[in-house]
Amino acid sequence: MRWIQAIFDILTNPQFYKITLTASTPFIFASLGGVFSEITGVVNIALEGIMLMGAFTSIVFTFYFGSPWLGVLMAIIVGLGMAWLHAWASIKWYGNQIVTGTALILLAQGVTGFLMEPIFGRPGQTDLIGKIEEIRVPGISEIPFIGKVIGELNPLVYIAFGAVVFSWFLIYKTVLGLRMRSVGENPEAADTLGVNVYGIRYFGVLMSGVLASLGGAFLSVGELGQFKELMTGGRGFIALAAMILGNWNPVGAMLASLLFGAAEAMNNQLQSSPILHVSASTKPLFNMLPFIVTLVVVSGFIGRTRPPAADGIPYIKE
């Protein structure tokens, strides 16, 4: 009974929904990145690594220059660089996209771990360095309940939802989007019609770099104001799951991200529930919650979603 009571309390508290939005934000950014890359036919499992680099870079520049927004900008540039490496290896050189992606994850983990000591003087985690503060939207924030959920949030959260609309419009309503979808499905056909297959794939992968590093930057300068080693903690992979569950559609990816965000928020709230008294030794079990949700939902949906037909296959001109 205490469990039901606790869950009921959480579900009726606007705080839970607000945390859901916040927790979903990195998933939304990164899964949109995945959509951009895979819809043009390039699998990008490096999202995890790009996020980590984004989180690190934004903290580093905030540390030196005092401006988290500058940090976000630099994170985008570093994300572009990481994505460019992936694009170059897998589009230009027909590299195996899983191998390249894995290499980039390991690279990101290595570089961020290595640079902690020279930059911040100690490994593990940084001090609180600085973050982007929440903004209050006049009008909306006064509405009861809803105002508490969406009225006062980190600007990056609003940007994430804006990015969903932007991505959907770009992919489904523009000439570029039509070409992106054609390149991911049948690059040969697109090529014979004069569509620049390589150029469009580069664009898709580079966009995934921008979006994934925004997701990473949100984790550090958005939420915490500090960087911790390996702080992405598998969120890049959950974002890939959200992309699949969302059927490679930006809106679908957002909905799936919200589901995974809700699982994280539920975990977070259950652990701090005053009724339950979760002991330190059982906390790891709770921390599994988002991953269990991912596993169950994704395995239930597999076969019902349809990836782009040329996803993951290098296009080799004859």
Partner: protein, 519 residues
Amino acid sequence: MEREFDPRDYAVAMVGITKQFPGVLANDNVTLLVRKGEIHAVVGENGAGKTTLMNQLYGLLRPDSGKIYVFGRELNLKGPRDAINAGIGMVHQHFMLVDNLTVAENIVLGSETRRGVIFDLRQARMRVKELSESYGLMVDVDAKIEDIPVGMQQRVEILKTLYRGAEILILDEPTAVLTPQETEELFEILRKLREAGKTIIFITHKLNEVMAVTDRVTVMRQGKVTGNLITKETNPREIARLMVGREVLLRVEKQPNEPDDVVVEVEDLWVKDNRNLDAVKGVSFYVRAGEIVGIAGVAGNGQTELVEALTGLRKAHKGKYMLLGQDVTNLSARELRLRGLAHIPEDRHKYGLVLDFPNYYNAILGRHDQEPFCRSSFLDHDVILKYTKELFETFDVRPRIPEMPSANLSGGNQQKLVVAREMSSRPKFIVISQPTRGLDIGAIEYIHKTILRLRDENVAVLLVSMELDEVMSLSDRIYVMYEGRFTGEVRPEEVTLEEMGLMMAGHTWEEVRGTVATR
């Protein structure tokens, strides 16, 4: 030529084209002259260089030497874009369509109707509708490609070229995927396009189509042009001889047979496909020893699943399958083989051969654990090599190199290897699926003779083929399959191609004969 050559007389003039690939001279001083407003066939066996020639005209390849003129203007094509701008359109053998986009989207892709960066779908639909109505090419503009039939997909391909203002259309083996009715529709469209002043280059190796629809023929063999003919003044025999370089039997010569006892009996067989939908819906048939039974139909009507059920690759969920008087329903492929089944699968790359294996392994696959190839769990390579050499000799597989990976054999020789292996197991019942897909006339002739030889050796033969001519000329009896059921059982001599076409489109034999009778 009496007058001096003037490229302005032709819609397309490819003069002295030479293209060298590593190890192969694909085009050797080829000249192709196509007049404006004609349907011009380019025929030749696989590897004759037809496709290479067309790819150079379409800008996909660059000639080593030679000149290309289109409407009298010399072109230096750097890519398909240049060819499209010069008014050339190509309908590829394998459709170049994006499955998850709509018909309209596919047609305008690359030259989209737009308002700034925004894709103007409404205008695209309108333009496509206009175009399709003016040429009588009926398509459903809003349907996704994956949901429309093959014939309509081909019309989409033609519309794609017309949308880009093509005056010259290249069609690469366009009828390979069509039913007889769809083929006739296509020919109608081609004639209409010719009336509208379009020039059509029609690549094929089917001689009856050349005779039916073209004005002139250019024949190619081994990279060279071996003949320039006017269709009305030639005949299939002459074209075939120019293609192959020797006299060819175009019709198999078949003696009447006297079938023996029933070897295979199938009763009310039901089989599901990969999506768990019924693909075979209660078929019943029998095959006697010394008899070739054909199964005709358009691809995707359950033939594949039926073959897989008969060869132990897929379970039937209802029905009975008797082989030599024993119930063998849902036995494994291995058990069926031990009971006298052989199988020439439709996809020789996927099921017929392990492509990376050397020929000698492929030659014994399936019997690799039996004497004399295997002794106390070890392969006897000396025996296997010697056996393979003999097999290659008997079945004329070339080159006769047992150590070579099977991937390096030509399609025809790969198929010969599969046939050799399956026949040498001395089967009682053989299931042959699409035996001549992708093969050229010479190899087809050989395979057909072999199938007839099986019959003469008193084997029960089940022949499944999408090539109607093949089924009609080889079979003693034919079942026509449509959506998992048989729409008729006929003897080839008592039925016309048109009636076959109607049954392949779902009309039963009774209906077909009924309409004929009342007419």
